[in-house]
């Protein structure tokens, strides 16, 4: 639950300008400070003890091998603490970079353009590199990635008489399955009332958040309207419900799946840890998001990055530290420790090979290939400064989707989002 909140909050994404531009460095910044015998402040926003311990172990390993010290600070409200640190002029040297703050940090020259200093951009998923590129500069190395997929309660699936041939590979099949699985207090499909879930269907319909030339938003496109209308059809019949506030007593999709209120849900790979720790008795299967009417696949990607403060006195040491954090071996360690997906395609493939059990029970990790394959075509989120408020206004209307006008919901989001681009 905590993880879900953290990741949706972080809501990753691509800066508007960045969408068109391939990643490239304008000019490399000069690094300062010694590379040994220094103490780095490392601010994290951990999802739980597993992540905190993994970060501490990684920091200790780097510190030992290079003769430095790392002070790990776990923040419970990263945005607040980072803002205070930056405005006070004493930011942490290395920190979890969150997308909502990314554009603002880059604009105010608070972020060291460290992307290509660590490794070439081509080593990482291009959707993630785009998310951290502002004004043609690759600022920040993607820490990890998370994509959405469908999680299915295996027991309910079999009880409803569904087989592998019925897996929700298309919109039609998803609607059929949701109907078959809706029984009594069980809702076929339950997902969070957020653009961070609904948006995946935009992509499947061939739509997007931005227009083709990436000069503005495209929420009022026919494709996006088609996607929202499809979901409305399911919601009207009661096969799809949103959480919280739409009559499902769960805080998020994972809780609905775990407590047996939902037969299917749409969540990212952070659900793995939650199922293991909170609902080990539920057996579930992970399948990719369905293809839309045109056969196009679509999902959303969420990410954090390893931010380095431009004002740090030890940027040379910080870059060396981030290099070790983002190294393939370390990424695999993080993935196995708390279920985040590596941001390097090569490492992600390797991780996927290790976890292929089709159905997860108890404390097992399910087949993660559904998550990993999404990275190739996932839609990054909007990073435009101020978009959080626009998204909240849209999210507030999702619970009432069954009786709302999808076109009107989208066009008001379009107006609100477009207003952000006017100076």
């Amino acid at each position: 639950m905590k993880r879900w909140k953290a990741i949706t909050g972080l809501g990753v994404s691509a800066a508007l300008v960045a969408m068109t531009a391939p990643a490239a460095t304008a000019s490399s910044p000069t690094l300062v400070g010694k590379t040994h015998g220094v103490t780095l402040n490392f601010m994290i926003a951990s999802s739980g003890p597993a992540e905190t311990n993994a970060d501490k172990a990684a920091a200790a390993a780097w510190a030992k091998s290079t003769g430095n010290k790392v002070n790990v600070i776990n923040s419970s409200n990263l945005t607040l603490q980072l803002t205070e640190a930056f405005s006070g002029g004493t930011p942490p040297d290395v920190f979890y970079g969150e997308t909502p703050m990314f554009e603002s940090m880059a604009k105010n020259a608070q972020l060291l353009a460290s992307g290509t200093l660590v490794d070439p951009a081509s080593d990482f998923y291009s959707s993630l590199v785009q998310a951290y590129t502002y004004n043609h500069t690759f600022y920040c190395v993607p820490k990890d990635s998370s994509t959405l997929a469908i999680e299915i309660n295996t027991a309910m699936w079999t009880a409803a008489g569904l087989t592998n041939a019925d897996l929700p590979t298309t919109w039609a099949k998803l609607a059929y399955d949701a109907k078959a699985l809706t029984k009594g207090h069980v809702t076929g499909l339950v997902m969070s009332n957020s653009l961070d879930r609904v948006g995946a269907f935009f992509a499947e319909a061939g739509g997007s958040y931005m227009n083709k030339s990436d000069t503005g938003f495209a929420f009022n496109s026919p494709q996006d309207t088609q996607a929202l209308t499809y979901l409305q059809g399911l919601a009207k019949k009661g096969y799809l419900k949103f959480t919280p506030g739409d009559g499902v007593d769960a805080g998020w999709g994972g809780e609905a799946l775990g407590t047996g209120l939902a037969a299917m849900t749409i969540e990212g790979n952070w659900i793995i840890g939650a199922m293991q720790s909170d609902y080990p008795k539920i057996a579930y299967e992970v399948v990719p998001m369905p293809a839309g009417p045109t056969g196009k696949h679509g999902t959303l990607v969420f990410t954090n990055c390893w931010g380095i403060a431009a004002a740090s006195k030890y940027t040379a040491a910080a870059v060396s530290f981030v290099k070790s954090l983002a190294s393939p071996a370390q990424q695999l360690k993080f993935a196995n420790a708390f279920g985040v997906m590596p941001s390097r395609p090569a490492v992600a493939q390797e991780w996927a090979k290790e976890h292929t059990a089709p159905i997860a029970t108890g404390t097992e990790t399910p087949n993660v290939s559904a998550f990993v394959q999404g990275d190739a075509y996932a839609l990054p989120q909007v990073a435009t400064v101020g978009f959080a408020t626009v998204e909240t206004a849209f999210n507030n209307e999702i619970d009432g989707l069954a009786s709302a006008n999808p076109q009107q919901m989208l066009s008001s989001m379009q107006t609100n989002a477009q207003a952000l681009l006017q100076p």
Binding site: G9, T79, F86, P100, P244, G386
Partner: protein, 369 residues
């Protein structure tokens, strides 16, 4: 009714008596000031010296931040640099305009937060005052046993952490929580309390068959009139119940303290004059509690416009309970728009000042009657 002026007699006497020593004291001070006897030389200097620590604290932590916030409300400060760095530009009244006059999301959100907070204030202040008064009257009763126990019990919610209480309330009012279970015994399917955004007045009107009449479509500061009259959301009702319950203890204490300054002879005198218990309360006790009542209402007034921690806990994205103070926080930190956030804070400040002045005016007029 004939008893009323008589029983009001001791009031004035008492009031004058009370005022007596105060006048003498202030008279004394005036003398010292003008006298300039060698004994009092340097008194002023020492006075300032003694209060300087608290003055310094006030200036550093209150006065400077207030002026800094006022300055920020006229800038486009992102919160990531020093507010005086060259990247921060003065933008004049732009921030205020986006909140009040310029159609857009900020205008709608600000209007919604003011509406929500207005209904919150409208229900909370009278309810908490009435409950506190009733509780104080109860525990002040001569015939009540175990007074100490009841006083502690009623005061308890006030000393408990608001965070803990709010979490307990969320559990009570959640989907299949205690409240909905109890309603279930009577065959009522309770709402999704905390997350229900629908307005209570709208719900009542809808059940009577009235839904959004023609006049309801007129827009006023970013919200339709129908939205303005929607009443508190169901989620806000939970917050109202919570606040009334937690604050009534503190205010009960204020009333209790005031009640104990009323001599028993006043009560007895009016009883002998033939006043019923209700008349004694209404025409004797209540007028004597006037200062306490003004204090409680004023404090309630201000605190209901500043409610924040409970709102944060009810859910960061929860649309049912957005207040201006929370909206200011959201705009500042979520959108990195500290200018607009500070502008919200100053508009809220003006609103509180305006409403407090209005309330004082009413109280004064009432006094001269």
């Amino acid at each position: 009714m004939a008893t009323v002026p008589q029983s009001a007699g001791p009031v004035t006497t008492r009031g004058e008596l009370k005022a007596g020593p105060a006048t003498t004291r202030s008279g004394g001070r005036a003398k010292a000031k003008s006298g300039r006897s060698p004994l009092h030389r340097g008194e002023n200097l020492f006075g300032w010296l003694f209060v300087s620590p608290s003055v310094a604290i006030l200036v550093v932590f209150m006065v400077i931040p207030i002026f800094l916030a006022l300055y920020v409300s006229f800038t486009n400060w992102s919160g990531l640099t020093s507010p005086f760095s060259h990247s921060v530009q003065l933008v004049g009244l732009t921030n205020y305009r986006t909140l009040i006059t310029k159609p857009g999301l900020y205008q709608t959100d600000f209007a919604t937060s003011v509406r929500d907070n207005f209904y919150f204030f409208l229900f909370t202040v009278p309810l908490q005052t009435a409950l506190a008064l009733w509780l104080a009257n109860l525990v002040n009763s001569r015939f009540l046993r175990a007074k100490g126990f009841f006083r502690t019990a009623f005061y308890f919610p006030s000393v408990t952490s608001s965070i803990a209480i709010t979490i307990v309330f969320i559990f009570l009012f959640q989907g299949n929580g205690v409240v909905d279970s109890i309603l279930g015994w009577f065959g009522i399917r309770g709402p999704d309390w905390v997350y229900d955004q629908s307005g209570v007045f709208t719900n009542i009107l809808n059940s009577l068959g009235i839904s959004s009449p023609g006049w309801g479509n007129h827009m006023f500061i970013g919200l339709s009139l129908w939205n303005w009259v929607a009443g508190p959301s169901v989620g806000m009702c939970v917050l109202i119940i919570l606040l009334v319950w937690t604050t009534s203890g503190t205010f009960m204490l204020f009333f209790l303290a005031a009640m104990q300054t009323i001599g028993e002879e006043v009560d007895e005198a009016s009883a002998i004059d033939g006043a019923t218990p209700w008349e004694r309360f209404r025409f004797v006790t209540l007028p004597l509690l006037r200062p306490a009542l003004v204090l409680v209402v004023t404090l309630g007034f201000i605190s209901t416009w500043q409610v924040f921690d409970q709102v944060v806990l009810l859910g960061p994205q929860n649309p049912t309970t957005i207040t201006p103070s929370y909206f200011a926080y959201q705009v500042s930190f979520q959108d990195s728009n500290f200018g607009a956030g500070a502008a919200v804070a100053f508009l809220l400040f003006c609103l509180i000042i305006f409403l407090t002045l209005l309330q004082r005016r009413f109280v004064k007029e009432d006094l001269t009657k």
